[in-house]
């Protein structure tokens, strides 16, 4: 199917990608071409075929719930874009004049 720019904008919003108009227009062209290609699957008869999400049989893997070695706070926070004490600094979720991250 061919995606309109509005449809692409909706998908981009769902995917948390803030794209400008030019990028959305280009994405509409490329995504439509890709979807047209993959739509050849509709010619395939899959009646009675079980979907296969995984190539090999998998089952739940359990382990004992025991404490192990883990990262120190400094290691865990070393890549944080904003560190706030021993926490990740993030923008305010609720309206506030003082976001903790800045």
């Amino acid at each position: 199917m061919s995606l309109s720019i509005d449809q692409v904008r909706k998908v981009a919003t769902l995917a948390r990608l803030e794209l400008g108009d030019a990028d959305l227009a280009q994405a509409a062209v490329h995504l439509s071409a890709i979807l047209e290609y993959v739509e050849q699957l509709s010619q395939l008869n899959t009646d009675g075929v079980e979907p296969m999400a995984h190539p090999l049989p998998v089952q739940n893997v359990f382990r004992a719930d025991e404490p192990g070695v883990c990262l120190t706070p400094d290691e865990a926070l070393a890549n944080a874009p904003v560190r706030y004490g021993d926490y990740f600094g993030v923008p305010a979720v609720f309206d506030s004049d003082e976001p903790v991250s800045h």
Binding site: L3, V8, V11, A12, T13, L14, A15, R16, L17, E18, L19, D23, A27, H30, L31, A33, I34, L35, Y37, V38, E39, Q40, L41, S42, L44, T46, V49, E50, P51, M52, A53, H54, P55, L56, V58, N60, V61, R63, L71, E75, A76, A78, N79, A80, P81, V82, F88, V90, P91, A92, V93, H102
Partner: protein
């Protein structure tokens, strides 16, 4: 022959016999990186001091007669999608430009236990999405056989590092052909193990039901050595399989008597370059000369594999890459915005075009109203693709065909047309969908001197026989001994 032309096995022998030290070997490869990387752009990150120190430690332990691992003193290049403790790991993405992992991937631990010397991190298509390494946010890697051409992708930096004499071996990852395709285009051996054979812990996920880590080497003996070193169970990857790792290198030289090779007509159809086709046909004839029998096999769903792949892989990617939100690590926008727009701006700034496309395709095919027609349909096609191979392996031991439809193309040839790039993966994706192992081995050159790859596909966990079958061809030919002149 200089040290940088040697195989891993030769470098191990040279050290054992005292003809070369690990430090000399490391220095030789570091020199070649100095000379060639500015042209080839295989490496993103090399720390010569750390490499030298690690090599010197191997020498010291050898001098003290301490036991050493099976890859002692062998430099190995690492695709930048594999986490390395204290060493930048970017996935060739701006979103991870400053990311320094606090832990090693399982395969890095294994390499270190084997006393290998990680020599540097290699360029790739961003988040392993691409077939030419042009999707890197940082550099376009060049094919050492012709610097105007692409090395393949997404593990193009790893392939170019080995083909360019800057490392004797490398690790890559293969989600839809990203080891086998660049191996073919760079004249190397590239092996994708069975899904679950190698732990994915510390591999930054692209498509979790398809991703596997594997080696690039110059010959099958080295592929066996590397695979032995990185395989094995790891509790941190719940899909890692707990079964013994065969001694691949011990049995490598035992040919398979009465070998039956499945040749699917679907791999020799439209779009296959005549020079590639004739090199692959000649390789099949070499097997016949050694007593193998060619069996016609049918893979009726093979034409649908690529379409299924380009739904399943982006769907899984859109979910996996949701973790990059600019909060705990990775790029965060400098623009002031509320929480949701901070995510959306950070991701739009941090991800390149192809990654954005795949996230959007994945989001779309999983979205309400479209999931059944696209994602679930693709999962059904996936089962049919796998069943074709299960049926084929009833009548043959291995399936063979070309790894790629053409030899390496020119930089820029396909970069404006995402779909044309996707078609490069037409022969490689079914291996990942079905979870089986595959290997590409050198089987000739085009008239203009570009390498051609022969692909072998085997039943799940049949790597031991797959390597022996690959070796049957290799020992009768000398393609793998040729070296690119950079």
């Amino acid at each position: 022959m200089s040290l940088t032309d040697k195989t891993c096995a030769e470098l191990i022998d040279l050290q054992a016999s005292g003809q070369a030290s690990a430090k000399e070997i490391a220095a030789a490869f570091l020199d070649e990186i100095d000379n060639r990387n500015s042209k080839v752009k295989a490496f993103l990150h090399v720390d010569p001091a750390a490499v030298t120190e690690r090599a010197a430690a191997v020498d010291a332990r050898r001098a003290a007669k301490e036991p050493l691992g099976p890859l002692a003193g062998v430099p190995v290049a690492i695709k930048d999608v594999l986490c390395t403790r204290g060493v930048p790991t970017t996935c060739s993405s701006k979103i991870l430009q400053n990311f320094v992992p606090p832990y090693d991937a399982h395969v890095i631990e294994k390499l270190k236990q084997a006393d290998a010397v990680p020599i540097g991190k290699t360029n790739m298509d961003e988040f392993a999405m691409g077939s030419s390494t042009e999707n890197s946010a940082f550099d376009t890697t060049r094919n050492p056989w012709d610097l105007d051409r692409i090395p393949g992708g997404s593990s193009g930096g790893s392939a170019a590092a080995v083909a360019g004499g800057m490392a004797p071996a490398a690790l890559g990852t293969d989600t839809g052909g990203s080891i086998r395709q660049p191996a073919a285009l760079c004249g190397l051996v590239g092996l994708k193990p069975t899904y679950g054979r190698v732990s994915r812990y510390g591999l930054i996920a692209f498509a979790s039901s398809l991703d596997q880590i594997g080696p690039f080497t110059r010959d099958t003996a080295d592929a066996a050595l590397l695979l032995e070193a990185i395989s094995g169970h790891d509790a941190r990857d719940s899909t890692s399989v707990d079964r013994p790792v065969p001694a691949y290198s011990k049995t490598l030289n035992d040919p398979i008597a009465g070998l039956r090779i499945g040749v699917p007509k679907e791999f020799f159809g439209e779009g296959l370059d005549p020079e590639v086709a004739s090199a692959v046909r000649a390789a099949l004839q070499e097997y016949v000369n050694q007593g193998a029998k060619l069996v016609d096999v049918s893979l009726p769903h093979a034409p649908y594999a690529l379409a299924a792949y380009y739904i399943v892989a982006p769907a899984e990617a859109s979910s996996n890459l949701a973790r990059f939100d600019g909060m705990h690590y990775g790029h965060r926008t400098n623009q002031k915005a509320d929480l949701i727009r901070t995510y959306a701006k950070s991701r739009a700034e941090g991800f390149g075009k192809e990654v954005q496309r795949r996230i959007m395709i994945g989001t779309f095919v999983l979205s309400s109203g479209y999931k059944d027609a696209y994602y679930v349909k693709a999962l059904k096609a996936r089962r049919l693709v796998k069943k074709d191979y299960d049926d084929a392996f009833q009548t043959c031991d291995v399936v063979m065909g070309p790894t790629t439809p053409t030899a390496a193309f020119k930089v820029g040839d396909k970069s404006a047309d995402p779909l044309a790039m996707y078609l490069c993966d037409v022969y490689t994706v079914s291996c990942n969908l079905a979870g089986m192992p595959g290997i590409s081995i050198p089987c000739g050159f085009t008239k203009s001197g570009l390498p051609i790859g022969l692909q072998l596909l085997s039943p799940a966990f049949d790597e031991e026989r797959m390597l022996r079958i690959a070796r049957m061809y290799e020992r009768a030919t000398d393609w793998h001994t040729r070296r690119a002149v950079v």
